[in-house]
């Protein structure tokens, strides 16, 4: 099983060395600064969109939500409007909770067994939920903060996020909480994968790879911010050049930046073809995004087709005499 995360780890090291070698020795700044980022972003956008379109082209023949609360039935029984949503509004709330608060993961329990009882117990297990939330929200904050490189003037909302994120300022440079939370959360998710035997057993190289890739992105970013002090002004003029489609490549930008950028590009390219598409998939999950009112409103199956059935008439033909003898009513007497 070890070979899976080793494989992913080696892939990350190769990905880090690639721009290092190409830039240090071959001077391929234009390739790594301009061509690859544009290509990666295009692949990401097209890949993401085509995947989502691909999903939505498939039919939803039946309304099959998982009901996680009391149904709407008799007026005096209190229905659960969110976990068993009877209306579209309820579905929207259910989906919002699912997307923004990881509602289902919040339910997570942990099983333990006392063989002498013998007894199985199930306790509420919040850590996965806590760290998953910490990971996603800190990542989002980091991305929003990075938008300062792609906007001029910088919108107020980005500045506010940045201010809040840097609230723990002690000396210079100011510390952004999000980066450290992101690193901590992702290390937890990685260690959890390695240390819990069952989770380790189900993990594929494709599970370790994005975790290690993001760790590498975070570390290279932190290195630039807190240790090496890159030429921020130069980078901003570079990124704005990309945004305006008039790319300029200042010579002052360090190799570490290209490594960081290349890893981000790798993530963008990898994204649409991997499990990371859960970001889009969650919106289309038929067990969550449908109303629980199938008995009240008919759901239409676009490919519903007639099937061969055994009709009552055929049935009566098979059993008529026995039915008459038993006093059961029949359609035809003989």
């Amino acid at each position: 099983m070890e070979d899976k995360y080793k494989f992913a780890g080696i892939a990350i090291i190769v990905l880090c060395c690639f721009p290092l070698v190409c830039i240090k020795f071959l001077g391929m700044r234009y390739v790594f600064g301009v061509l690859i980022p544009y290509t990666a972003l295009s692949i990401f956008l097209l890949g993401f969109i085509s995947k989502v379109i691909g999903w939505s082209m498939s039919a939803v023949p039946f309304r099959i939500p998982t009901t996680c609360g009391q149904q709407e039935s008799l007026p005096w029984i209190k229905a659960n409007k969110i976990d068993c949503p009877f209306t579209k509004k309820g579905v929207v709330i259910r989906m919002l909770l699912e997307i923004f608060a990881f509602r289902s993961l919040f339910r997570n329990t942990k099983f333990s067994m006392d063989k002498n009882g013998p007894k199985m117990t199930f306790s509420w297990e919040l850590w996965l939920w806590v760290f998953a939330l910490a990971f996603h929200y800190s990542f989002l904050t980091v991305i929003i903060r990075h938008m300062r490189f792609f906007t001029d003037p910088i919108p107020l909302c980005i500045t506010i996020v940045e201010k809040l994120d840097g609230i723990l300022q002690i000396g210079l440079p100011g510390i952004f909480i999000s980066g450290f939370v992101l690193l901590g959360a992702i290390c937890f998710l990685f260690l959890r994968r390695i240390m819990i035997p069952q989770v380790r057993y189900i993990s594929l190289a494709a599970d370790y790879f994005p975790l290690l890739l993001i760790i590498a992105i975070v570390l290279s970013g932190m290195y630039m911010r807190y240790i090496s002090k890159v030429d921020v002004v130069g980078i901003k003029s570079f990124t704005m050049g990309l945004v305006m489609f008039k790319p300029v490549i200042p010579d002052t930008i360090s190799v570490m930046f290209y490594i960081h950028l290349f890893l981000v590009c790798t993530l963008l390219v990898y994204f649409p073809f991997s499990k990371l598409m859960h970001m889009g998939g969650i919106f289309l999950s038929p067990t969550r995004n449908l109303t629980c009112d199938t008995r009240q409103k008919r759901h239409i199956n676009p490919w519903n087709y007639p099937v061969k059935v055994h009709t009552y008439e055929e049935y009566e033909d098979d059993f008529r005499e026995k039915m008459i003898e038993a006093g059961l009513p029949v359609e035809k007497e003989s």
Binding site: T109, Y201, K275
Partner: protein, 541 residues
């Protein structure tokens, strides 16, 4: 074999630690006691299914059609277009492992391929190889596998170790539903004639005679008449059920298991007494059908098409008899099919009326389109309006807990109705721990057509988490009766209880109702429906 192991030995042999070897490198080992006998070719032929043949899972050669890989690939491809659920579930799993310890089959067997995530990966790995760029480029590193006979055997073995209970889907952050994957996988297996007999033969029976057990119309009536005799002994009253009666108010459909085997039979007697009560008191005419004499639908465990073929009888019979609406008995997967599939497949039921209780006047607006009402909803409404004369003291000898059956729980959301009914007909009711009831309920371990005899080890293992919770309330509160609203539960749980918690019996909801129901002009009851002496009778002696 588990049957020969004592419960403690069974527990001691349980190991949840995964093996050293990765799951892709671990060849499937088909174990006795964990699989069901394969489909009788005759049953498959009756239904017009392909590749009906004799074959043996323990043999190397499964006598597959020559182009079986092509059949599977094309079947897979076609269904990815038909079912968005499958397509999304194939792509979005992140293997977070939240589902791993939620499956009763994993908890009871320790077999890692019974973790919902791995069950799905068995199919997903082939999906990646056949349909994704990453899988085609990177192969095993991307978790892709090329289909071969070993993998097919693995599919067959593990897809018939899932009871489609949906517990994992409650916890999955993307709502990935293993039931959906199992339904889909079994549908593919049926393209190659790889069904099990415990499913195929009931389906064939149901298709031809109207019910899973193949009870012919006259015999069906005989069996009900037998209950009528029993009820007369207990109450002194003769019930007069009607069959295939045109112009009745309501058509009643329930699983045939209740007509056939204890303790479902007592639930069936409960229905008969309730209907007779309503007829005597309020003139309500409810009829049974011998043609649509099966509420359950093992077609659901075969393919969507088969499910539709069997289910069609309910509406066809309701239309032929000219009833106003349909009332459904206590059954699990039957209600998943009715609640989430029936109207879509075989509707619109525009020849029926929006269900209204003729006694209370309550409109069942939640069933306005499907026009089928669950008997727990119907009875709860009667009790709420004080339309039933009840003496709950007659259930005083019972300390009851309620097992939420998987499908009414997670495919319908019916939690309060049965609880309300129980609490009005019994005085002693105790809940099991919250992580084992309602939407988190544990399966009986025998659902989705797995309640055969030859796979007993699997059933006892799968039922362990449920039994464990029952044992808890038995020890804490002295619970001696496990109530449920599912015919498979009534067939499967007694065996399970007998092994794990022998002091606890199993009952349907309407057996408890009928025990408490005070029929007009009945004789003083000294026993319950099972012939057990009533505590109140004992006290007065």
């Amino acid at each position: 074999m588990a049957k020969e192991l004592k419960p403690q030995e069974f527990i001691d042999s349980l190991n949840h630690q995964p093996p050293k070897k990765g799951w892709m490198d671990l060849p499937v080992e088909i174990k006795k006691g964990r699989y069901c006998y394969v489909a009788n070719p005759k049953s498959l032929e009756t239904l017009g299914f392909p590749y009906a043949r004799k074959w043996d899972p323990l043999e190397e050669d499964w006598k597959l059609p020559e182009n079986w890989q092509e059949i599977l690939h094309n079947g897979f491809k076609e269904r990815l277009k038909r079912f968005r659920s499958i397509k999304v579930f194939m792509d979005t799993c992140v293997r977070c492992g939240a589902c791993a310890d939620k499956c009763h089959f994993f908890l009871g067997t320790g077999d890692p391929k019974n973790m919902p995530v791995l069950r799905a990966e068995l199919l997903r790995s082939v999906y990646r190889n056949d349909f994704t760029m990453m899988g085609k480029l990177l192969g095993k590193a991307a978790g892709a596998r090329k289909m071969d006979a070993q993998i097919l055997k693995e599919w067959w073995y593990y897809l018939f170790q899932c009871s489609e209970c949906r517990r994992c889907s409650v916890f999955c952050p993307y709502g990935i539903d293993t039931a959906e994957i199992t339904i889909f996988g079994r549908e593919l297996l049926n393209l190659l004639g790889l069904n099990i007999d415990w499913i195929a033969t009931p389906v064939s029976n149901c298709y031809m005679t109207g019910n899973h057990l193949g009870i012919q119309p006259h015999a069906f009536k005989d069996m009900i008449d037998f209950f009528v005799d029993d009820i007369e002994t207990i109450t002194g009253l003769r019930m007069e059920p009607s069959f295939n009666q045109k112009g009745a108010d309501i058509l009643f459909v329930t699983p045939s298991g209740d007509v056939f085997a204890d303790p479902g039979t007592y639930t069936c007697m409960g229905y008969l007494m309730l209907f007779d009560y309503l007829k005597r008191e309020y003139g309500l005419n409810i009829t049974w059908s011998t043609y649509a004499s099966e509420g359950g639908n093992f077609g659901f465990f075969t393919s969507h098409e088969t499910m539709k073929r069997l289910n069609s009888k309910m509406y066809a019979e309701a239309k032929r008899l000219g009833v106003k609406w349909i009332l459904g008995g206590e059954c699990g997967h039957m209600w998943r099919v009715i609640n989430q599939y029936m109207d879509t497949m075989n509707g619109p039921a525009d020849f029926l009326e929006v269900p209204v209780s003729p006694i209370t006047g309550t409109p069942f607006t939640n069933a306005a389109s499907t026009k089928m009402v669950h008997i727990a909803e119907f009875t709860a409404d009667l009790i709420k309006h004080g339309k039933l004369k009840l003496d709950p003291r007659r259930n005083d000898h019972l300390k009851v807990t309620f097992h939420d059956s998987c499908n009414p729980a997670r495919g319908m959301g019916m939690f309060e109705e049965p609880r309300y009914v129980i609490q009005n007909v019994c005085k002693h009711f105790y809940e099991m721990p919250s992580s084992t009831i309602r939407e988190q309920t544990f399966c009986c371990g025998s659902g989705s057509g797995l309640n055969a005899g030859e796979n007993m080890e699997l059933r006892l293992a799968g039922g362990l988490p449920r039994a464990n919770a029952v044992k808890y309330v038995h020890e804490k509160f002295g619970v001696n009766m496990l109530a449920c609203v599912c015919a498979i539960d009534r067939a499967a749980l007694p065996t399970l209880m007998n092994y794990w918690v022998p002091e606890v019996n199993v009952t349907g909801l309407h057996e408890l109702v009928a025990n408490a129901l005070v029929m007009p002009d009945e004789q003083e009851r000294t026993t319950d429906l099972r012939g057990e002496p009533l505590q109140s009778a004992e006290d007065s002696e």
